[in-house]
């Protein structure tokens, strides 16, 4: 006796799948740097498939503290992440078409695990870049790990890291996936 998802749950899941796809084209995470000579701020903006913002300028500044250059090539995730998201969206569509709540539990489990892996991956890179400083750098700095979210001070720069539109959509999509659990709780 499998539990079937209601129509409104189906709509909710389709929207979730749609939002997942849309989020690919939006920035997910960013970091903004302020310094006396950059009062307007410098940006690193991460999309699922590319980096944007003043990457070259940030790189040229990072050399002072011996931080490695970052580019799209240094993050292989950016090559595969869009496919993973499309895969998740397709999976959501399949689950929706099958209308089976047990499969939905599986999907939510995959989302949670994916989210945890994603956060871990980001933390890994922030640690990698912040602690793996070139010992020959002109400015000798204690290794540091910038926060995934929040303010940090590195030398003369105040940095603000934040999640943005793409990840918000991701969050909404996740809530939309949870919605059927509540909507169809009595089945």
């Amino acid at each position: 006796m499998t539990k079937r998802l209601s129509n409104s749950s189906v709509v909710s899941l389709y929207i979730a799948a749609g939002l997942l796809v849309v989020s690919i084209f939006l920035p997910w995470w960013g970091m903004r740097f302020y310094a006396p000579q950059y009062p307007e701020g410098l940006d690193i903006i991460v999309y699922p498939y590319k980096l944007a913002g003043e990457i070259d300028i940030v790189n040229s500044l990072n050399h002072y503290i011996g931080m490695a250059n970052f580019s799209e090539e240094t993050f292989p995730e950016l090559q595969v992440l869009p496919y993973i998201i499309v895969g998740l969206a397709l999976l959501t569509v399949v689950v929706t078409m099958l209308r089976r709540k047990s499969l939905l539990y599986g999907l939510i489990f995959i989302m949670v695990v994916g989210g945890i892996i994603g956060i871990y991956d980001m933390h890994h890179w922030l640690t990698e870049f912040g602690t793996n400083l070139d010992p020959m750098a002109p400015i000798d700095l204690e290794p540091f790990v910038p926060p995934i979210i929040g303010e940090n001070i590195i030398a003369n720069f105040v940095t603000n890291s934040y999640f943005t539109y793409g990840s918000f959509l991701l969050g909404i999509a996740f809530l939309l996936m949870l919605f059927p659990l509540w909507r169809d709780r009595k089945q």
Binding site: E54, D56, I57, S60, L61, H63, Y64, P138
Partner: protein, 624 residues
């Protein structure tokens, strides 16, 4: 007695108390403090708070410095010096290959009369043009980066003093000549001045896409001195006017000999008509140029009599009138373009000079305006309410008067001997009518003394009201010859040179840096970046260039910091070489390594915290 004494002393104390009392309070009501509050309000008018920008760019010619001086108005702060006709170590202008070639072998120029490019008779913010009276050159400054982009040496002319003035859509810049020169025979005697000499006018074309000059045509005007030119506007858009003196054709002691005739002339010509003639092949080939001879044609070029030795000539914003005056005369003369056209139509001539028809003065002149005691009217600028502002060189004042009525409305002293005036968009079809700057030749004792020679000065006026209000005075580098005041919104300079992958001399990736040797020619393709030089990334010492004595060395460097205001410099010690490099820019240096030894190279333009460490070496191995 005692009573009287106490009464007197009581009164005395009362007076004392009153004096002290009122003196304290009276202080803030004296005329002095009224003046100081007036001064305060003037200070507020010219004060531009931190973080805010001036409303206008003031582009002043730098005379014999060969440079352009840029100020902000109303603060009158000096913002930038742009080298145009003169090498400039501060920016490396005249040292790198491109600008060195542009300057030729000249080490100075006499920068006169900047003119902004125009569209529909108003500034379009694209280019600024200037002429070099000393060496017959014309230059264009690209206002996207405030750098000189082309210089052309113009043949057949002897000092384009009055230039450059552009037509209302920048079709032409006119370069009439100050000194007449031998025409056919380069060694013609001054005894044959009238027959053998000519004062040639050049109609220059500037291609805004290619950023290059060309000569449209030239006119072999009579052997006089030509002083100022203006293109018409609107109804007079196809016409232009030039003042001329020494119609006496004197060849010595011009101060006396060129001031004998009671009247000189304004040359009135139809540039469009001449253009059509030239297009139809109606010209003579002369020394490589298309030359028009006024005596051989019976239209397009005319003379208008004007009080002797005129200097400035200015066209009203609506283009209906031109204003000129003898520079030793007391009066401004208003001429009507429409009356002139009518006189031409009716052949209302009073005669001819050197084969050119002379229009009847009475037919063309609309009115003479003679403010009592005013002497030496030179230049006129306009506001948006039909008023003219004329500088008086000899009586050291600015006179405000109404063009239509000739009524003198206001007069204000300046410090001292103003040459030109410049108002905000003051020579366009739409003057702004808010600020006027008097460009004074002398500032005698007005600033801290710097010895026998005092700085020239600029007086800033608020001209929004009925009376001119003097706001401030500013010392200025020698010497202001006219300026252009353009609203900041008209200009849009960029901040970083875009990457140009098609440039074979540019290197954007440090892995592409290299030093190539071809016989005795060494070519370096390197980069500058915070805070190092990389000439060859694979070398043991990437910041060293090693050559042999006698080698020709070409160094191409690209500033790979695509970051606003991160400017690097490259100086080679003892080799007299240095240039500045803006973000993203590629520059080339060429020299012969004729001295052996080890020569430090270093970043000359402060770039970052480790600027001092941005160094390297040029090693020149001695000949074996």
């Amino acid at each position: 007695m005692k009573k009287a004494l106490s009464a007197v002393s009581g009164i005395a104390v009362g007076f004392l108390a009153a004096t002290v009392f009122f003196a304290e309070f009276g202080g803030s009501a004296t005329p002095t403090s009224t003046a100081s509050s007036d001064e305060r309000s003037k200070a507020e008018q010219v004060y531009v708070p931190f973080g805010e920008h001036d409303d206008y760019y003031l582009m002043n010619s730098g005379g014999h410095s060969g440079q352009l001086f840029v100020y902000g108005v109303p603060s009158m702060r000096h913002i930038r010096t742009v080298p145009v006709f003169t090498p400039d170590p501060a920016t490396g202008y005249g040292y790198d290959a491109e600008s060195k070639e542009m300057l030729g072998d000249y080490t100075w120029g006499d920068f006169h009369h900047p003119a902004l490019s125009e569209t529909d008779g108003d500034y379009d913010g694209n280019f600024l043009f200037a002429t070099d009276v000393a060496n017959n050159r014309v230059a264009a400054i690209d206002l996207e980066d405030f750098h000189t982009t082309d210089i052309m040496e113009v043949p057949n002319i002897g000092g384009p003093h009055c230039a450059a003035f552009v037509t209302e859509n920048t079709e032409y810049l006119f370069l009439p000549t100050r000194f007449s020169l031998p025409f056919e025979d380069p060694h013609a005697s001054l005894d044959d001045f009238s027959e053998e000499y000519r004062g040639v006018l050049s109609a220059m074309i500037f291609d805004q896409e290619q950023k290059t000059f060309d000569i449209g045509y030239q006119v072999a005007l009579p052997p006089w001195s030509y002083d100022k030119a203006r293109a018409g506007k609107g109804v007079s858009g196809e016409w232009a006017v030039i003042t001329t003196y020494n119609t006496e054709e004197a060849t010595t002691n011009l101060e006396i000999n060129a001031s004998q005739a009671d009247r000189d002339f304004i040359v009135l010509f139809n540039w469009k008509g001449l253009e059509e003639m030239v297009a139809n092949g109606e010209y003579e080939e002369f020394n490589g140029e298309k030359m028009v001879f006024p005596e051989n044609i019976d239209e397009h070029i005319y003379l208008v009599p004007v009080a002797k030795s005129p200097h400035g000539v200015d066209v009203t914003p609506d283009g209906t009138r031109f204003i000129a005056s003898g520079k030793l005369a007391p009066a401004m003369t208003v001429f009507s373009f429409e009356s002139a056209f009518e006189a031409i139509e009716n052949e209302d001539f009073s005669g001819e000079r050197n084969g050119i028809p002379v229009l009847n003065y009475e037919s063309v002149m609309e009115r003479e305006v003679d403010p009592p005691g005013a002497l030496g009217p030179l230049h006129t600028q306009f506001d948006d309410r039909g008023n003219a502002y004329t500088s008086m060189f000899i009586s050291s004042e600015v006179v405000k008067w109404n063009v239509d009525s000739g009524e003198v409305l206001d007069r204000h002293d300046v410090y001292y001997s103003p040459g030109h005036l410049v108002a905000a968009h003051g020579d366009t079809v739409e003057p702004h009518g808010n600020y006027l700057v008097s460009l004074n030749k002398i500032a005698k004792n007005n600033f801290l003394s710097v010895g026998p020679s005092h700085p020239e000065s600029m007086d800033l006026f608020d001209i929004t009201g009925d009376e001119m209000v003097h706001l401030s005075t500013t010392p200025v580098n020698p010497e202001p010859h006219y300026g252009q005041m353009v609203h900041r919104d008209v200009l849009d300079p960029f901040h970083v040179y875009p990457q140009d992958e098609s440039d074979p001399l540019a290197v954007y990736d440090q892995n592409d840096t290299r030093i190539e040797r071809n016989g005795d020619h060494v070519e370096v393709f390197g980069i500058t970046m915070r805070s190092k030089f990389i000439f060859d990334a694979t070398a043991e010492r990437p910041d060293v260039i090693e050559v042999n004595e006698g080698d020709t060395v070409t160094i191409h460097l690209t500033n790979t910091d695509f970051d606003q205001d991160i400017t690097h410099g490259f100086g080679i010690m003892d080799y007299d070489l240095n240039f500045e490099q803006m973000p993203g820019q590629t520059k080339t240096l060429e020299f012969v390594a004729d001295k052996s030894g080890v020569f430090p190279v270093y970043c000359t333009n402060f770039c970052s915290a480790l600027h001092q460490e941005m160094t390297g070496y040029l090693i020149v191995n001695p000949k074996e």
